[in-house]
Amino acid sequence: MEYFLQQLINGLTLGSIYGLIAIGYTMVYGIIGMINFAHGDVFMVGSMVSFIVLLALGVTGGSGAFMIIFALALVVVIAMLIASVYNWTIERVAYRPLRGSFRLAPLISAIGMSIVLQEFVRIAQEGRPKPMQPLITGGYELMHRTLAEGGDFTVKISNMQIMIIVSTLVLMTVFTMLIQRTALGRAQRACEQDTKMASLLGINVDRTISITFILGACLAAFAGLMFLLYYNVTDFFIGFLAGIKAFTAAVLGGIGSIPGAMLGGLVIGMIEVMWSAYFSVEYKDVAAFTVLVMVLIFMPQGLLGKPEVEKI
């Protein structure tokens, strides 16, 4: 029971990260109907930029709490800005000119873009993983089981995990408000429903699409920072696996649905952690991929999505 509880906490943490990336996939899919294959690599860029800025600022786990909070706030802003610039540029250069081209063109372009981003970072920053000293340490003991009760085991939640879960919650709330309450969110939802009609009613579709990419990149950059702080390592290739899993999360939650993406992220995180804990660590990625395949075959509309109607 205690062991399960611990895995639940770990799964929640990992799932939050996946959920944040998944939102980017789901929004872009909702609005232009394509998989932004390079989104996982935008997440990687966010993580890499966070690493670089943290290093440049010179904060370590030993710096004062105030210093760390200040540095992290700065890193969040910079990472989001840079990742947004990347995603915006990608959309302008690689996707926008291809609207109205044949079916596979944007996807192939996206795959090319993903390769470009990975290789660009690999060449500029060397291929080796970048390790980092833990920045946020400490945590709380939630539960303790003694040897007499059947094995020594302590359920812990680290400060880092609290931070990830709480900040994801906050970010999600802000984001949901943004989509539901503001004019920007209204335009975004309108484009999602019917691009042509939205543009007839005076919505600047190009701009809305750009903003969608920027919002997705912000969330991905935040996830990248969390990933870096949680695992204390980053490299140019993390976007690949995280990207596929986040995409799985988006599909599982119902592509196009933002709460669905978050929910899907949590489920995928849970499955991955539970699988590693109870079955085998080696096959945890296989488990996640199997979920993807199963969902697509048996439940293509996902948990919260609407069934796709094929229009001629």
Binding site: V45, L81, S109, G112, V116, I244, V251, L292
Partner: protein
């Protein structure tokens, strides 16, 4: 038919460009480029003895920004805002011109290439510089041409984006590796080993095709983008199983396998070998020349089988499916079977190539079957022009050959920062080429799409004028 109006947007742009607008555009370009470059390029993290430090390279970032802005200025002044008369030269005529050009190509270049390919090893005798390295490169390129032709059935003809093609390549390679090292000696004794490749080849093809059906069956109802991700997931799954199923595949260490023999005669300096049997001087190049002809044969089989299949109802169904799935279904074509055959046939060629790869290398390990290989094969198909078989030959030669060239380009080191080799940029170039290709020539350089069945009159439509569902 929406053919003409497509290029109108570019002529709309050709209004006079004011200086202030130009300045604004260039400044925003500069800012964005700097934002892209500063953290990643200008602040390089270097892992030293236990400590990580940052090397600042702002000079390089500014230089690159300068290049980007300069290029954009050049494009503004001389390319994007040309006088309308020059700019509005109809794409239709140029499209038609390219059709006749490509007709010439398929008529003369294909047989020419074939003759050249057949005679290629002969040149090595006259030219002492062309040694086994050249032959090896030729074999290497031919493997990718074959893989490209195999994937072309799936992507180019049936329009199914398969990102896990390397999985079938892996199935073929491991089929050969496991059969020849473990099972054949068990079943038939070691005497069979010299023949292992020839026996395994069809088996490997069948196995790969079976895997193609097994993997394809559940997912082929999905639409294009989903299919791409699922095939990618399958490719990774097979690789992960190869890495982790230690007792069966020997994990990441891989398996050493017997190399290919000349129909039972091994290539080595010993009695009973190829050179001994024919009474000639032993030379390593015999091995490479033989490899060359084997892969050439396999590739040509792929080529001609695909070419013939295109004329059969199934091939026509593939192409119809690529153009419009809904129309296909309403005409009574069973889309699942059609997709499945494309998948299986593509996979089978992948399996053949994999088997050959293992027999050439003498070693297989999961490392050869990573996602980037799939992406590379896809890039070959895309750059060749989806669906064009001759195009794939050129793009495979261009990509693989340029990889070799990157290795040789020492003069580039003057321009590049210290510590980087030109060879590092190869995949970056491939990725960029894919993006640019989709942007400017989405249907390829030399390709055209010509219906194999037509009513009364044969109308060619240049590929780049056609969006999905038209033409």
């Amino acid at each position: 038919m929406s053919v003409a109006p497509k290029n109108n947007s570019s002529s709309d742009d050709s209004k006079a460009l004011t200086t202030s607008a130009l300045t604004k555009d260039l400044i925003s370009t500069a800012i964005i480029t700097l934002l892209v470059l500063i953290p990643i390029v200008a602040m390089k993290t270097v892992i030293g003895q236990g400590i990580i430090s940052i090397v600042y390279r702002f000079g390089m970032a500014f230089a690159l920004t300068g290049i980007v802005v300069g290029t954009r200025l050049f494009l503004h002044l001389f390319v994007w805002h040309k006088a309308p008369s020059a700019g509005s030269k109809s794409t239709l005529t140029s499209g038609l011109k390219s059709v006749s050009f490509s007709e010439t190509i398929t008529k003369y270049i294909a047989p020419g290439l074939l003759i050249f390919a057949l005679l290629f090893p002969v040149f090595t005798f006259f030219h002492p510089i062309w040694d086994k390295r050249v032959m090896d490169l030729a074999v290497y390129i031919l493997i990718y041409i074959m893989l490209g032709w195999g994937l072309n059935v799936v992507v180019g003809l049936a329009g199914l984006l398969d990102l896990g093609y390397v999985a079938f390549y892996a199935v073929g390679a491991y089929a050969y590796a496991l059969l020849s090292t473990v099972y054949f000696p068990q079943w038939f004794g070691t005497g069979i080993l010299p023949w292992a490749f020839y026996i395994t080849l069809p088996v490997a093809g069948l196995l790969a095709a079976t895997w193609g059906v097994v993997l394809g069956f559940p997912v082929l109802r999905l639409r294009g983008d989903y299919l791409a991700i699922v095939t990618l997931a399958f490719g990774e799954m097979i690789r992960l199983v190869l890495v982790n199923w230690f007792s069966f595949t020997n994990g990441p260490q891989g398996i050493s396998v017997p190399k290919i023999t000349f129909f039972g005669l091994p290539f080595k300096d010993a009695p009973g070998s190829f050179s001994d049997f024919f009474g000639i001087q032993f030379n390593r190049i015999h091995f490479y020349i033989f490899l060359y002809y084997v892969i050439l044969t396999l590739a040509l089989i792929t080529y001609f089988v695909t070419k013939r299949l295109r004329r059969l109802p199934i091939g026509r169904a593939w192409e119809a499916l690529r153009e419009d799935e809904i129309a296909c279904r309403s005409l009574g074509i069973n889309t699942t079977t059609t997709k499945l055959t494309a998948f299986a046939i593509g996979a089978m060629f992948g399996g053949f190539a994999g088997s050959f790869f293992a027999a050439r290398q003498g070693f297989v390990s999961p490392e050869s079957f990573v996602y980037i290989e799939s992406a590379l094969i896809l890039a070959i198909v895309v750059l060749g022009g989806l669906g064009s078989q001759i195009g794939i030959v050129f793009s495979a030669i261009a990509i693989m050959g340029s990889f070799e060239l990157f290795r040789e380009m020492d003069f580039m080191k003057v321009v590049l920062p210290s510590g980087t080799e030109p060879i590092q940029f190869r995949m970056l170039a491939v990725g960029l080429a894919m993006v640019l290709m989709m942007r400017f020539r989405p249907r390829g350089f030399v390709t055209k799409r010509e219906p194999t069945v037509f009513l009364k009159e044969k109308k060619s439509v240049s590929g780049d004028l056609v969006a999905e569902g038209h033409g």
